[in-house]
Assembly symmetry: D2
């Protein structure tokens, strides 16, 4: 078929050797847009071999020259922002503004990776004992790969790939089979970079492709973002094959609203955080814990704010929230809302059954708010990954923190307060890797590690910044001795 998306291997666009294909849908319209290969082991083998062959000369290219490709990469993303954002919105459903925000974050990571010549320096010590010196360098691992989820088709590979190639590795990007078009277009645009063939490769597919990546002996390190269950599988399977793995999982991110919070700010920010990207964000606020008296006032206002969100096709400028990714996702989310109600939650705002004009077949669920959610209920514990906000109450900040720390997830937690003491206690005691104070989405800048904890992360080194650098390199320690006497005879 003519619209079947191809892989990019060794500088060439190549058909997948696998027969099966999957449909790429526009979730706002329910229309099929393209066909993506379901993937095959052969595709991964081809990519891994070419990437492996491209590695030695890429590693020996000076870092100062390697980053010149990244400067161009930044420019290509900047110059093609609109086009890339539109594709992303079409296959992923989020709004154009949300798609552009992804590009911005991708660029920020490229910028940090441009600093690799300095950041990659090893250390040097004179005279560890008299006349002997020792130093270490960081060298690339070889070929590495990332396996990327559907919810950030643009951004997530850039948490990893720019660092990997800046450090001298060659790379294979495996996008989600639900949103393969965006990265495919980005790779088309990247042909302008004139990277040596094999340095950057793109392989499409589903589980077979993933497993082939996990198993291939040439692939040294794997970065993953997805649900906790799959993250754990990736971590385990990668480790069984002796690889380095960093695997970022799911989340259920709580926001604490203190009695002294600035409610105007809090309501607006929390609504954006809960319903932005239709709640399909690993940093989305999905639980609010109100502390003390503010509960009711907050509830009324967040309902009002949620109700005002315009739901629709993300391509329209005036839309605040798009669809979820697939019909099955919509059904699953709405099933969870049912379950929540059955478990005793108050359905304060019901987004089910929303109709969007001209998008009757789109996968829309409107903003939904559940009140009085029981922390022992399943709805509380499950990552819904949709536009559903659960509200709980706690008497004190300590209670709220206990609630949070009992969760299996540890991606992020936020607090709204005017109190310096509450902020300090919260950030010190809360066991999540990303903390926000008067912020809705505590997404670390590219020069910080993206620090999930607990079941939200498997591994030790995170994406972005120095952690990415360390993950994509190995240290080589050198100890040298030269006798002065040797300088006297030739």
């Amino acid at each position: 078929m003519t619209d079947r998306i191809r892989n990019y291997i060794n500088g060439q666009w190549i058909d997948s050797r696998g027969q099966a294909s999957l449909d790429v849908m526009n979730p706002a319209t329910g229309k099929r847009m393209a066909e993506v290969p379901a993937g095959s082991k052969e595709d991964v083998m081809a990519a891994a071999e070419k990437a492996h062959l491209a590695w030695p000369s890429w590693q020996n290219t000076p870092a100062t020259r390697r980053i010149q490709y990244l400067y161009k990469m930044k420019q290509v993303l900047e110059e093609n922002e609109h086009e890339i954002a539109a594709i992303c919105t079409k296959e992923c459903g989020k709004t154009i503004a949300e798609s552009k925000a992804e590009i911005l974050r991708a660029i920020e990571n490229i910028e940090v990776a441009c600093g690799i010549p300095k950041l990659m320096q090893g250390g040097f010590s004179e005279n560890i004992t008299t006349g002997i010196y020792e130093f270490y360098i960081r060298q690339a691992l070889g070929t590495c790969s990332c396996i990327s989820p559907f919810n950030f088709p643009i951004m997530i590979p850039f948490w990893f790939m720019p660092y990997a190639i800046a450090c001298g590795n060659t790379y294979i990007v495996k996008p989600s089979e639900k949103v393969p078009m965006t990265m495919t277009r980005i790779f088309e645009l990247f042909e302008k970079l004139d990277l040596p063939p094999g340095v950057l490769n793109l392989v499409h597919g589903g589980k077979e492709t993933v497993d082939a990546i996990l198993e291939h002996p040439f692939i040294q390190a794997i970065s993953f973002v997805g649900s906790s269950a799959v993250a754990k599988y990736i971590y385990q399977t990668g480790a069984i094959h002796g690889k380095r793995v960093q695997a970022q999982g799911g989340a259920k991110n709580p926001v604490v609203v203190m009695p002294d919070a600035d409610l105007d700010a809090a309501v607006k920010i929390i609504a954006d955080s809960a319903f932005g990207c239709a709640g399909q964000r690993c940093l989305a606020a999905s639980v609010v814990i109100t502390v003390g008296q503010t509960g009711e006032e907050f509830m009324n206002r967040i309902i009002r704010s949620a109700r005002e969100k315009k739901v629709g096709n993300g391509l329209s400028d005036d839309v605040d929230m798009g669809p979820v990714i697939r019909k099955e996702s919509k059904e699953r989310i709405e099933g969870l809302i049912d379950k929540g109600v059955r478990e005793g939650a108050n359905l304060l705002l019901d987004g089910r059954g929303i109709k969007v004009r001209d998008c009757e077949d789109g996968y829309f669920t409107g903003p939904t708010i559940l009140g009085n959610v029981n922390p022992d209920s399943e709805i509380y514990k499950t990552e819904i990954f949709g536009p559903v906000l659960s509200i709980l109450h706690a008497d004190t900040l300590e209670d709220a923190i206990s609630l949070i720390n009992n969760s299996r997830y540890g991606n992020s937690a936020c607090i709204f307060t005017r109190s310096g003491a509450a902020a300090r206690k919260f950030r010190h005691d809360t066991m999540t890797g990303n903390i926000g104070v008067n912020i809705g989405i505590a997404a670390p800048m590219a020069f910080f590690p993206f620090s999930g904890w607990k079941d939200s992360f498997y591994g030790d080194l995170h994406g972005q910044s120095l952690h990415a650098l360390e993950f994509y390199t190995q240290t080589k320690v050198v100890i040298e001795r030269w006798h002065d006497a040797w300088t006297r005879k030739f």
Copy 2:
């Protein structure tokens, strides 16, 4: 039984709940010295629970106060150097000088860990966008553990433990069941530190103990040193249980002797490296590759030097080399020598059948040298872990490096040369994590990572220095916004 070694849990000496015991032998005399518990799941559970309970208050103890215990730890090791070294020599077999060298390296690691208050600092960025700032801190993981091999009863736990506790973790040391007495005595001496109970724990045992550590949900991170097969098992099993793991495996470390090498220095250093600790060192030189003309001259001199090594009970001052750890080890090593000869190697020096006066039952094998070893033979590929040196020849430095890079191991490689160019090429091209130039044992100082590669290491962060710090902490990113307007109303 009165001489059954006990565990140290929560500040108390406690009998293992497991029934079975193993003998602790003096390898120089073949005499049984003590009995060590074979270990039990209950022991690990008890230690993990107590360590887990001790954690919160230890983590909240300021780092500047935590390191005061390390200063005392350094002092205790210094003041009891002779006693500790003697125990180590008795149960491990190595010479007193070798035991003392371990203590020195242990102390160096404590010293580096004393710098944790500075090294552990996170980063702070003002104005990531106007008025918003972001920072990260490193927080302890909880309870961590190391599983330590027989060949360095003192040093190896100190590659990990001082960093772990300096960072605010609580810890369980699991020494080798072959050499449990040394660490037990060290823990007795450490009672003087007055560490809060539960911070530092000692659990003895064999595989059941190891598996219980790998599985226990309270244990967050595991450090291991041993053979590659077990290292891989530890890495896989730890990962299956979602933990952080760093697992250092075996090695077969080559030394290249270039035609311009200073043979006096090279021969002496290589003999020390190959036969020190009876070759039971993961950094021992076990293969020499002579390049160009020097082959024969080198071979004659290394045989002479090896022959002069005095083999005996490590407690005697004039002994150069002690026994191997167990009768089975001796038999295995001697079997491998047989095999080497069958595979076509020349037996240039045969250490089998050596008799040591007053130590007739000791597990001694003398220095052994095999010449003309075939790189395709099994003897070449197998880690012998005994005083056996294999010699090969290569025509050029490139050929020597190819030989090395074909190995599955990547622990260390050394070169002897007067040429700056040969040194540079060697350290750049050779794929091992530790490189020595005119050095026999490229053991990184404590302020460098101990950088094994390939099958010599599973994981990403190594022991010692900043890698240990990163391994034993997790990053927490905080993003804060405070509105200036709030400063105007109270």
Copy 3:
């Protein structure tokens, strides 16, 4: 004379060659305790020459061995805490608790300097262009010196000296001629360290000594703490002689009390900060700016708290505040109080004329509080360096910050508030190098730079931590190329 204090040069106690002497007084009793040489150029020349000669072999001593002396130094200070504190209290006047706090901070700096082997590492970059690598190391400067003030006889040399010698420099300490006994005793105790002669030297004296240090060509770098006028002189004169200089000057440190401050905490902490060490601290709170309504309540309570301070001989356990350093200081301080009153301030608490039993000849001024101080008055602008607290009022936080930023000084500023927003605005906008939030004395820990700004500091690199390391070393960059072809012929 028998009680004339001697210099310590090249490992020996030597009489000053200068004839003149100065009296060392006990400020609590007004009694002469000893005689200190007024100093001479010859003394400095002797010390500089010996230190210069000692340098090369000290620099070539591995850093890991150099720091062993620092570990002992820490131990010596710990073991002799009481004796050192008593001498300090006798010649300097502060309480025993205050003297001990100095020792603690001195030790903390030694601890950070013990981390030098790691902290001193330079950087290494492979392949800056193919086949060429570049690295840098830090090397010691040679002989360096600090010129230390009377108010912290113990602590201040340790902001500099431990780093200097850890980095491989040799050193000359010049204590204040008002308090020479403490450092002299410390040097006596340091004989136990067995430092190589010439590494650490002590030279007493006044201005002639200072000028000789500033001019001597062997002295590469000078650290100073004192008044701003002298700091500027030191900076200028040192620079004229081409040296590195870091010169810390005076201060007038404001504390802002916001309407939402916890007054219990604020009053207690501010009273301690203003009157501790009799106000002779470069980080003393000497101005309080109350914002909004709290003014009166705060004023009443701080007067009460100040009145309760027990003034007396610092040797007594129950004394809160000792004398000022000299009769002339007392007269100067009391003259400034007069002037303040003449300039329109309200004398809320008058410490002049205080009588201390058994210390009738001591230089005591009691806690003094001036209210309604005019920011244009001279008393406001002058560093009083005595137990005098001035109180002002501002309507808003912005106004308070403006007041602070108009000062020529920039040492420290503190705020008391419960508001996270006020804290953020204050620390961002206030132009002082050390900021405290709900803290009275913002003295940076030893692993932070001691960051004065504006006229409170001349230079760029501060004392303590990495700044000290950078100040006491110079970078050496090395670029190397070796041709692979050279590995083929010998």
Copy 4:
């Protein structure tokens, strides 16, 4: 006059208020090209005031946004490489290739400065005592300035300026009055950056301008490159006005040729280093010290190589070496050659009296080599800053290093050898801040400090990389305490 070069202040091109002007000459043709203002105090005042006003909002612009201007800056230099190089060659005399090499190095510094958001991070420590945390940030100083020499019209301001503005300072560039056109053109091109007015300013002039910069109270920090005499003056005068200063001075850079050197490589590289930029480089090789037997062979070959250098107008592609900067320079250089001969040196190659076709009025001196130069002669000690190479002989490497270490300069030193031991000894013992091994010009990459020592540098922090970052920022330490109790009442 229409061709009088203007200043760029606050985003506008403005005539100097000074009346006097100086001629800008083309040194290859001796023709006047333009007129540059001799400068005035008023010009500096205007620039300093505007830069001072622009500072607060520039500092509050997030670093991530500030660096976007630097990305554009890189692009502008890349896109206009040919035009800028041509102007530089015309007014400075060097070849087009040499001018382009400057641009490349300027760009590299911009690239490193683009990493400022990461590099500028301060440190954060939790729990310095329980419940208290401490952090530091780096904040800009205000307005800073560099005073730049004639020999690198493009590169040298970029050692400083990109870092300064990336860190949030505003800036004044003062180019050499001999080569004002290049930077003026660069500033014209930089108008495309759309930097906020006042951030980047250009002021022309001579000594009066320099003195006004040194004295102006708004200018916080000064970077200088020039002769040692002027560097010292700048350092002293800046310090007298209380400023931070880094002042890079002159040099006399030795190259040691060992008996085992690869003479082909050594001769070619040394000839390029000695005669490139007509020897007007602070890193030019101006002295060769031959060790052992190689002397004569080297001498013959370097004469041949020098003789082959084609001297001419740098605009021609086939020219290897251009003129010196001024007629007076030529006369001074030729006078020094005379003096050298009178002092006993052998004139091995005489570049005086060279005629260049079509450039009869250019300031040309051809490559000149003096042999047998006496290390006590003045010619040996004087920085000639022209195409004159002096050759000496030493018996051993130790002797050669002694010769080097006796010099007042410490900018750079190189060695040619195949021996790892000679390289180690040389780089360890030689007291210069930049060391080359088998390299002619040891110019540190932009991610290393440019490390002059001794009279080649006054100050402590050098240009480029982290030193520039530290020089252009001041640390602010913050210590905060918040009581948990405050979280319970609102």
